[in-house]
């Protein structure tokens, strides 16, 4: 998980969620790209964030795009965040003894526009927080930042500010993370 660097977070507010990541891709201490995408849209109202080994980030984002498209075609409806989280969890556990080195985070609004955020470890153990969830190289620093900055029922603009400050400060404390940040608000 420390080979390519990268970190992500997600936060829940009042009828909104944000998900963000840094933009660095490295090979240990060498920075190779400053525009590496780690947050991917699944539906209009649901995003997944994939920190960790870059090859797994890309493979998993394509795999989940496939699964979600098939879901949409078969079920004739968009996938909900909780269903997506469980699907990702069972996909990761399917590789229990040769895992993907990635700790996904899901953030989205369900069909009633209720906010959902979920995190999990590399073999699919789901976490159902009410407030925020973090993953990646700078997760320890992010835990500290989020714990102090987050408060319940933040409006979308305030939530955006909170998440950005948390992400940028934590990124500054970690050499493998940084080179800019991306935040998506829903």
């Amino acid at each position: 998980m420390d080979y390519n660097g990268g970190t992500v977070l997600a936060m829940a507010g009042k009828n909104c969620v944000v998900v963000g990541s840094d933009k660095r891709l490295g090979v240990q201490n060498l920075t190779v790209s400053t525009e590496f995408q780690k947050v991917f849209p699944v539906t209009e109202k649901c995003y997944i964030a994939l920190p960790g080994l870059a090859t797994d980030v890309q493979t998993l984002s394509e795999l989940f795009r496939l699964k979600c498209n098939m879901y949409k075609l078969r079920e004739e409806r968009e996938i909900e965040p909780l269903t997506l989280a469980n699907m990702i969890s069972s996909t990761l556990y399917g590789r229990r003894f040769g895992p993907y080195f990635c700790e996904p985070i899901i953030a989205g609004l369900d069909k009633n526009n209720k906010p959902h955020i979920y995190g999990m470890d590399l073999i699919g153990c789901l976490n159902y927080p009410d407030d925020f969830t973090v993953a990646g190289c700078a997760e320890a620093a992010l835990f500290g930042m989020c714990e102090s900055l987050w408060e319940p029922d933040l409006e979308p603009d305030e939530l955006f500010e909170t998440a950005s400050q948390a992400l940028l400060s934590a990124a500054d404390r970690n050499s493998l993370v940084g080179w800019g940040a991306v935040i998506h608000t829903m």
Binding site: R74, E75, E76, L82, T83, N86, M87, S90
Partner: protein, 244 residues
């Protein structure tokens, strides 16, 4: 001339039919009648429990069955074929749950069951299932009733009958069905429809009724939702008393 093409399932007859499927439908038409009615707040499925002899212990026979908490199923045709499909349907529902941690919608389950039935119309060395199924479920889009035939084709109904008396029963239902029917009325109507073609005395042991929706909610999977359940003999007796 279709006799020459009737033995092998995987051969089309010149008229473009798969004769084995036609014969399977004949087998279904010999089975006892089953009814399904969709109400605004639930669904009823019902069937006759016709035993060959009064010595048979009919409590051991289950024709209206549960597939998963929100989906029920009933059949007309060959009982053993039904048992196989029921087992496959239950397994398919659990398999779906292993991935998504929620039960499939009725439409998804019906697609699975129907594709199993279709497989048996295109593989070598097997015969089609001799059953038609009525699958009733309640999911987020509301109550929905599907019929699946031996060919694997399925379609949704507001009210339907399969089996021996299906033509008369469907005519009866067409007259009595309206879009605003509630579950209580639907149970009542289904009993009356079964009565139309019933030979012998209708008691709480000779019919099976299953309902989903209405008042039958239960706490399952962490939330309150409509559950499928079979009416107990005493409840059936009450309904029967009301119609006579």
């Amino acid at each position: 001339m279709s006799d020459r093409y009737s033995f092998s399932l995987t051969t089309f007859s010149p008229s473009g039919k798969l004769v084995q499927i036609e014969y399977a439908l004949n087998a279904v038409a010999q089975g006892v009648t089953s009814i399904g009615i969709k109400a605004t707040n639930g669904i009823v499925i019902a069937t006759e429990k016709k035993t060959a002899s009064p010595l048979i212990d009919d409590t051991s026979l289950e024709k209206v069955a549960n597939v998963c908490p929100n989906i029920g199923i009933v059949y007309s045709g060959m009982g053993p074929d039904f048992r196989v499909l029921l087992a496959k349907a239950r397994k398919a529902a659990q398999k779906y749950k292993r991935i998504y941690n929620e039960y499939p919608t009725t439409g998804m389950l019906v697609k699975d069951v129907a594709s199993v039935m279709q497989e048996f119309t295109q593989s070598g060395g097997v015969r089609p299932f001799g059953v038609s199924l009525l699958i009733a479920g309640y999911d987020e889009t509301g109550p929905v009733l599907y019929q699946v035939d031996p060919s694997g084709s399925y379609w949704a109904w507001k009210a339907s009958a399969i089996g021996k008396n299906m033509i008369n029963a469907k005519t009866f239902l067409e007259k009595r069905y309206n879009d605003d029917i509630e579950i209580e009325d639907a149970v009542h109507t289904s009993i009356l429809t079964l009565k139309e073609g019933f030979e012998g005395q209708m008691t709480e042991h000779s019919i099976e009724i299953g309902i989903i929706g209405g008042g039958t909610t239960g706490f399952t999977e962490g939330k309150e939702q409509p559950l499928f359940r079979k009416l107990s003999p005493s409840e059936v007796r009450d309904y029967l008393a009301n119609i006579s």
